[in-house]
């Protein structure tokens, strides 16, 4: 039978392109405190709506409300604020360093600081993290030295990765921070494997993985959720929905008619959708998921709704594909501004204190940069010897690599 209409391909388009007014009417923002907080032993099927709503704690006036309020003490809140501000200051300086030719490349996480920072603070420091390139906040919140991070960004003589990896592809076993993968999503099922190993060894450590909404389209995402579900692996599977995969809006990744959290439901995994710019909500859902994992209840999928406020990387120009002022219209605001507002609502924080802290963290980054630059930058000659290029391909160097090293003159 012949169709009466000709077939048409649907190619998703975002609500607004350059030159148009930003439009986030499609983002449904429920009132803070309106979503229930189930017991961790809940059956995934009983909380299906949690995958479509938005768990929020901070309301518009900066008050923490509702059952997900983690009731963090003042010291923890201030530590979180400081780590987020330090992350932003670090990003700003490293972005500039790229423009100054001190590194080849950089990727900021501006606007997404609550994700790395609050989650690092909700996890135990012994838990293993498998991040993407936009969770530098994890390292910073875990207190990893900025100088060491910068040494990697500058590929200098103190770069522990010996100039082998592109800038920002940090690796720190000591910080429980897995080597960043340029092949997106490959680390996501690896986080599940790590968690399975922890369960096999009857350990008490859990794993957490992060993936962008764009890379959920990779098969590795499916494998991660399948294996996590089958083996009830103690792992938290975080999807950072920052609206963009370089230039492609989240509709291209399959977010037009459903949420990314809802992906988890088909695997029988409890799935939560959370306001990713709400430090308290992010902390609370991460704690809930970590408690489940630690109680042998298995994996939780979390979609963290956020907005990539800066360029994808130093090689990107967002004005080519989205309205220039879109970030300021993002309905969930800025994570630092919102936590600041909360502290001020609690009457434990002031604009003066905030400004002082901003200067303090910027000075800390500046001092670290000064030290890191003394070990060299991309533009100087202070790199590891080319002879090291042949190390670590194998544990022991085989004959053919030894010969090739000699060919190079070492």
């Amino acid at each position: 039978m012949k169709n009466s209409v000709s077939l048409q391909l649907h190619v998703p388009e975002p609500a607004a392109r350059p030159g148009q007014a930003p439009d986030f009417n499609w983002v449904k923002v429920p009132a803070a405190g309106s979503v229930t907080r189930p017991d961790i032993s809940v059956e995934p099927g009983a909380i299906r709506e949690h995958a479509y709503t938005l768990i929020r704690v901070l309301d518009d006036s900066g008050d923490a409300v509702g059952p997900w309020n983690p009731k963090l003490d003042l010291q923890t809140l201030q530590r979180g604020l400081r780590a987020m501000m330090l992350t932003r200051a670090y990003d700003n300086r490293m972005f500039r360093a790229q423009r100054q030719g001190k590194t080849s490349f950089y990727m900021p996480c501006t606007g997404e600081e609550a994700i790395g920072v609050a989650q690092a603070m909700a996890l135990d420091h012994r838990d293993m993290t498998f991040p993407t390139y936009r969770q530098q906040g994890l390292l910073i919140a875990r207190g990893w030295p900025l100088v060491d991070m910068m040494n990697q960004v500058f590929s200098n003589s103190r770069d522990r990765l010996k100039g082998r990896q592109m800038p920002i592809m940090y690796s720190s076993k000591a910080a429980g921070f897995f080597s960043i993968a340029g092949n997106l999503a490959t680390h996501f099922p690896q986080a599940v494997g790590w968690a399975m190993a922890s369960a096999i060894r009857h350990d008490d450590r859990i794993a957490a993985g992060w993936i962008g909404e764009g890379a959920t389209a990779e098969g590795d995402f499916h494998h991660a959720l399948t294996f996590a579900s089958v083996y009830r692996a103690p792992v938290i599977l975080n999807i950072v929905n920052n609206q963009y995969a370089i230039s492609s809006f989240q509709g291209i990744a399959g977010g037009e008619r459903t949420t990314f959290a809802a992906r988890g439901l088909g695997y029988g995994l409890p799935s939560l959708r959370v306001d990713g710019n709400d430090f308290l909500a992010v902390h609370a859902v991460t704690t809930w998921a970590a408690d489940r994992a630690r109680s042998n209840l298995g994996s939780t999928v979390i979609e963290l709704l956020s907005y990539r406020a800066a360029a994808h990387s130093t090689s990107d120009d967002p004005s080519k594909y989205r309205p220039a002022d879109e970030a300021s219209h993002w309905p969930l605001g800025d994570p630092i501004a919102r936590l600041k507002q909360h502290l001020m609502a609690l009457e434990v924080w002031s604009d003066e204190q905030h400004s002082r802290l901003a200067v303090e963290v910027d000075n800390e980054v500046r001092d670290a940069q000064r030290e890191a630059e003394s070990y060299g930058t991309m533009g100087t000659d202070e790199h590891h010897s080319p002879a090291t290029m042949f190390d670590d391909v194998y544990k022991e160097m085989p004959w053919h690599l030894r010969r090739q090293r000699q060919e190079l003159g070492f």
Binding site: P189, V192, G193, A197, S198, R201, H223, F227, Y394, W399
Partner: protein, 332 residues
């Protein structure tokens, strides 16, 4: 050979509780070729278990377990099914030590049956070793008999780098020499079929000189070792047959010593020819033995076609074609 492989895993699981075995059908059932039979019963379901049909997922979780500190031994049911896992193998397992400057490693062994001769058509017969030999950071091993299979598999499991362990499935039940119209002698009647019970190793990167000879060197591995031996016996050429056993890092000294002595070289593998591992061997021989060569190097390989189901024996480089190659090398 199946029992030898099973014994290698059994020995290692008993010695080292970080060794875990998993893959499609390998747990309760013991694998479609029975190589993991009894391991789940003996070591429990959290050390020998079934996985979903997801080769990339198997490799990815193995890498994660390796990062944790386990020593996973995974089975890919047929080498023909390994391609979905190549991103995990090439982009991560092989590169992890390098990209983390030694902080994180993936000491994984990937066992997978390869080669044809069982009427498996193009999806159960391939020999994809050259895909892996091209990847820096991987080691590629392929045994030709039960004694070596066990010793090499133990070495592979103990190795701290990822190892692709290809098992020529046509050798599981005996030293198949390419005469498909004749009954295969069982391994019980072959000297290399005798396998000690306990722990022993065959070092990686050491070839085996399976037949000393003076006139021509045959470089081969896997099933083709037995095919080459049959061709040599039937052709009356005094060939030196070398079973490489490990392809990367290859045992260059044994190759050079032999070809320098004989001055002639025939390379035999079942895999397709173009960019096959034979091309690398040919280049190595040329680079290292050029002034000793008395004839062009000859390659006897599978044709550059998919493995055809009903025409299997026209595809397979059997003893007649190997003998032809030997003649060519002797005349050249």
């Amino acid at each position: 050979m199946v029992q030898a492989l099973n014994s290698a895993m059994d020995v290692m699981m008993a010695r080292d509780d970080s060794v875990v075995v998993f893959g499609e059908d390998v747990g309760y059932f013991g694998g479609v070729f029975r190589c993991t039979e009894g391991l789940q019963r003996k070591y429990g379901p959290d050390r020998a278990f079934d996985t979903p049909i997801a080769e990339a997922g198997i490799l990815a979780t193995a890498v994660g377990m390796g990062v944790y500190g386990l020593r996973p031994v995974v089975e890919i049911q047929f080498a023909d099914y390994i391609y979905p896992a190549t991103d995990q193998l090439i982009s991560t397992a092989a590169r992890l030590r390098y990209r983390s400057a030694g902080e994180f490693t993936a000491p994984i062994t990937v066992r997978t049956p390869c080669g044809g001769g069982i009427f498996g058509g193009q999806t159960h017969s391939q020999s994809p070793e050259a895909i892996f030999t091209h990847v820096c950071g991987l080691k590629t091993v392929i045994p030709s008999n039960p004694y070596d299979a066990k010793g090499l598999l133990i070495s592979a499991i103990e190795d701290d780098d990822p190892v692709i362990f290809l098992e020529p499935k046509r050798l599981y039940n005996g030293p198949f020499n390419g005469h498909h119209d004749q009954a295969v002698t069982p391994w019980t009647e072959h000297p290399a079929g005798e396998v000690p019970e306990g722990h022993y190793t065959i070092p990686l990167s050491k070839a085996s000189l399976v037949r000393p000879g003076e006139d021509v060197t045959v470089l081969t591995y896997g099933t083709m070792v037995h095919v080459a031996l049959a061709a040599v016996a039937e052709g009356g050429v005094d060939a030196e047959v070398i079973d490489l056993r490990t392809l990367v890092p290859v045992d260059i000294d044994t190759i050079v010593t032999s070809v320098t002595k004989t001055g002639r070289c025939v390379i035999v593998h079942e895999a397709t020819r173009t960019s096959g591992f034979g091309a690398e061997l040919s280049a190595l021989v040329q680079e290292n033995c050029f002034y000793s060569l008395e004839a062009p190097i000859v390659r006897v390989t599978g044709w550059d076609t998919p493995y055809p189901h009903a025409l299997e024996w026209d595809y397979f480089p059997g003893p007649r074609r190997v003998a032809e190659g030997l003649r060519k090398a002797m005349e050249g």
